[in-house]
């Protein structure tokens, strides 16, 4: 809406052109990012939108998608490591992710449209720190961590720990997303992502919820996670530990869904009022948990199929 208000944009000279630098190694990229006025360029969607909205963008963009190892999904021991430059389309199509953490593959597969998913990288999507984004919600529920590289070494951050003084610092780069083993101590785990849309495609969700359920041998809840997006401070991980050890039935799921509605603060916008969204968070939490529990119960069956 540049024509609506004069705005404070600098006016004396044409905006300096943006340079795109293509480093050959991650170290080279980090060296470039150590200087001021630089930013990471992944799929470029965020920068394109920023330019469209005439928000100031750094003069030098360091392209990282071609760096060796940054765009692969690989197994490291019992964990899955997703390179930050992997596109959402690749994440959605990954057999390894779909088997271990369907919640993540599903969330990556419902972002915007296919064309946008083929551009957007998972690292860029997380680094945007946008509560309306899908993948961070699923990764929060899955207990993923971020491997962050800077000129001085590697750190590990939580997906929802990017903000604040201990968060992502200037010059740092998300190198990869690390997903934990699905079935700790031989439990059975299922996960699911649910997103509420008005027309079904290419829109920000009214509410979106990710759930994981791990069943102990006796069918009780060994681990429960629930993450909610498009709420204040989202994604928000809902605290469900009081429910552990109980049988995973509709009563437990209703309580968990109720807790999710009580512990999150959605906001009014074109997609709905906060009051409505609170009801929808409860409903979609119920749907995500129900599906996750269903998948957990079928884990053994599916593992046999996998073999």
């Amino acid at each position: 809406m540049s024509t609506l208000a004069p705005g404070p944009a600098p006016v004396d000279a044409p905006r300096p052109p943006v340079s795109v630098v293509v480093p050959r190694t991650l170290d080279e990229a980090l060296a470039l990012l150590a200087s001021d006025g630089t930013a990471v360029l992944g799929g470029g969607v965020g920068h394109t939108l920023a330019r469209h909205h005439r928000t100031p963008v750094p003069g030098t963009l360091v392209s990282v998608t071609g760096l060796p190892g940054l765009s692969s999904i690989r197994q490291e021991d019992d964990r899955i490591v997703v390179g930050a430059g992997t596109t959402l389309a690749s994440c959605a199509a990954s057999d390894a992710l779909t088997r271990a953490w369907p919640v993540v593959a599903e969330a990556c597969g419902v972002v915007a449209t296919g064309r946008i998913r083929r551009l957007v990288t998972i690292g860029g999507n997380i680094a945007a720190r946008d509560d309306t984004h899908d993948p961070p919600v699923a990764l929060t529920a899955a207990g993923a961590t971020l491997r962050v590289r800077g000129a001085n070494g590697t750190r590990t951050l939580a997906v929802d720990g990017l903000a604040g003084p201990d968060g992502l610092r200037p010059g740092e780069l998300i190198e990869s997303v690390v997903l934990p083993p699905r079935d700790p101590k031989h439990g059975r785990t299922g996960s699911a992502y649910r997103k509420f849309l008005a027309r079904g495609v290419w829109e920000y969700a009214c509410v979106h919820v990710a759930a994981t359920v791990t069943l102990a041998g006796d069918g009780s809840a060994a681990r429960l996670t629930l993450a909610v997006g498009s709420v204040e401070g989202g994604p928000v991980a809902v605290g469900l530990s009081p429910l552990l050890g109980r049988p995973v039935d509709t009563g437990l799921i209703d309580e968990a869904a109720h807790t999710a509605a009580a512990e999150t603060r959605p906001y009014d916008d074109v997609k709905g009022s906060a009051a409505y969204k609170t009801h929808m968070i409860e409903e979609f939490s119920r749907r995500a948990l129900t599906e996750a529990a269903h998948r957990a119960r079928n884990t053994e069956h599916r593992q046999e199929e996998d073999r």
């Binding site: 944009a9 027309r199 290419w202 009014d268 074109v270």
Partner: protein, 804 residues
Amino acid sequence: MSTTEAPPTGLDLGRAVLPPLIGSAVERIDAVEKVSGRASYAADTRLPRMLYGAVLRSPHPHARVLSVDTSRAERLPGVHAVITGEDTAKIKWGAFRPDLYPLAVDRVRYVGDEVAAVAARDLETARRACELISVAYEPLPAVLSLDEALADGAPLVHEDAAGNVAHEFSFDRGGAEQWFERSDVVVEGVWQTARQWHGSIETIGCTAEWSQDRVSMWVNTQTPFLARQRYATALGLPLRAVRVVQTEIGGGFGGKSGDDNTSVICAILARRTGRAVQMVNTREEEFLASRPRIPMRYRVKLGFTASGLVTAKDITVIADNGAYTGKAQAVLGAATVRHDALFNYRAVKAHSRLVYTNLVPTGAFRGFGNPSADWAVGQAWDLAAEELGIEVPDLFLLNAVETGSVSPHNHRITSCELKQCISKAAEAIDWHGKRANPAPHRGLAMGVSVHVSGRRSFGDYDGSSAIVRLTEDGRASVIVGEGEIGTGARTTLAQITAAELGVAVADVSVSRPDTDLTTHALGALASRVTYVAGNAVKRAAEQACRQLLEAAARQLGRPASQLWVADGVIHGPADADGQGPVSSPVGTVVRAELYRPNGQPVVGVGSFDNPSEFPDQSRYGNESGAYNFAAEAAEVEVDPETGAVTVTELSAVVDCGTVLNPPLAEGQVEGGIAQGLGMALTERFAWRNGAPTRPNYSDYKLPTAGLMPRKMHIGFADSYEPTGPFGAKGVGEISLDPVPSIIASAVADAVGVRVQELPITAEKVFWGMREDTAGSAAADRTDTAGPGGATREPAASADEKEGR
């Protein structure tokens, strides 16, 4: 409605045997250039030394403009001109009620109102220069809803419109009150529609260039001749000084009919710089300053006898004009009277007011008021069916008009297969089967609509004229000023010409409108081109064919009455002496006719004026020569936990007379349904201080394939319009009209919740199911919500933030 001695229906008229080309799936004549990307749209125009224009718009819904300082913008390298209201003729213009300056003079009246404009060497520079213009505003109290505008002592949007009423009319035909007193069942309700944007793929654009004292404008307008007239007024020029040429158009839907300032400003910039200037709306500008559908609030009262015969109808309509009038005045007329041509009302009464607000001006949109009327009146009929205990299709059949009916407003129905549409639509969706086997949370509804084929509203003329020139190489060149907005109109006209002449469609070309070169035409509005221009073109082709056969008669030695044209060749029988049969290609005959001594070109001229009346101030008068009809039925499923609506099945049966080109007609019907579903379910903004908070597609959800009915049945009534070209009527708008109303009624049938205001969001249905109206009031604010709403302030640069 008085049903006079019923004349024979179209079916009985012994309609002429139609040529095989009529009713066949002729490929679009512009298919290859569009699919291959060669079609030249507004922004594809390139002229030597062309500059680019940009506009600075008001950020206030209502303010006094104290001063405009353009000096910094003028100093920016690459800027060629900066203009304000002082650089214009300061003449107000508008289709019916001139109230719009090309650039603001002293006051701005909505967020998006044009204040200043720049022409520069490139778009980036022009936009940056706009940012350098300093405007001092004194904000004034604004009216940001119908209720605020109509409140006692409300601030006036225009000083000359007391009470903010821009236009008002009323009528009582047949004594409605007496009929209500004699009614056994009376239903009432209040329903409101919302602003809906056309959402064309291509935004509004213009390229202007002056030569001497004339300006040529290449514009993606639906109505080049009408636009020229208004542009000339706005520019303070005689009509002869303006030439408008139509470019390819990427979607019109009423939104490109020349009521906004973009082209006018472009022409002023071109004159000022002495260079060609191009201006194309951004998507944001399209949302802020085009002319979306008019929100209308209807209070409806319907009366019936116990047996289900309709007696009387009384409606009160208030329509949100926005800050300037455009075509809203005419739209309100149609929205008040058109639907009375559906049923045999004994009496109809109405009071309609067009109300100024400090919001985006509204105007023409596919349906032209009909979807709003059907949204309200259609739901009242649904309520009545429930109260009467009569199935909706049966109630419709009991009251529907027929061929020969005359509405209370003197709409004379020359062909009508409405009852056939109702029966076929019910059958297609298996109405009785579904009623017999109800499913939880599923609901069923039906609606009907009537539309015009051309509408007499721009002076006492709704005609068209055409020239068909046969060329020396055997082709037909159709010169007509109606144009093409993406519906396939030029293909249909080529098809009519080819059928009339006996040549191949591939040998027919149809001109683009150019006010210097083509015949005068009103253009693509009111579903008129097939019917009105089709008749004119058919008559021109008839005349050309007569000339051709007379020339061939001289050349081939057979009487013209014995000759016929097939596949581009003129044929004649053997003569009495056994000479013959004879034949000669069309091109050969045309060439020989021209090359003989005192020879003549073969050029046919045809004209057709809609056999209609210019309605009077109370909207009495037969607005069109032919009326098209439709019945649509929908089944929806409502998610009981969320309120979300899924359209599981929809049937639409349209009476558009003869279907000239089935795929094109089906495309119109399907497209109308899609646009109707967007209006019904998803298209809306959050508003703050008189403007959408995020005027782009991330908030405004156009329908996608995913919103379409899971099952869809499109059909056409067997019908023939005696005054139409080969029996055809218009088809461009009608399928949209009933959609919002049937979705609402089907939701009511499914879960007992009747939504009073568009769109039917899941949230409204949810609160309705919970009977928690307190929640919904705060939650789903209206389209014209004023300041202080609950909408969340979007974070800086948070627009379209998906997927970074």
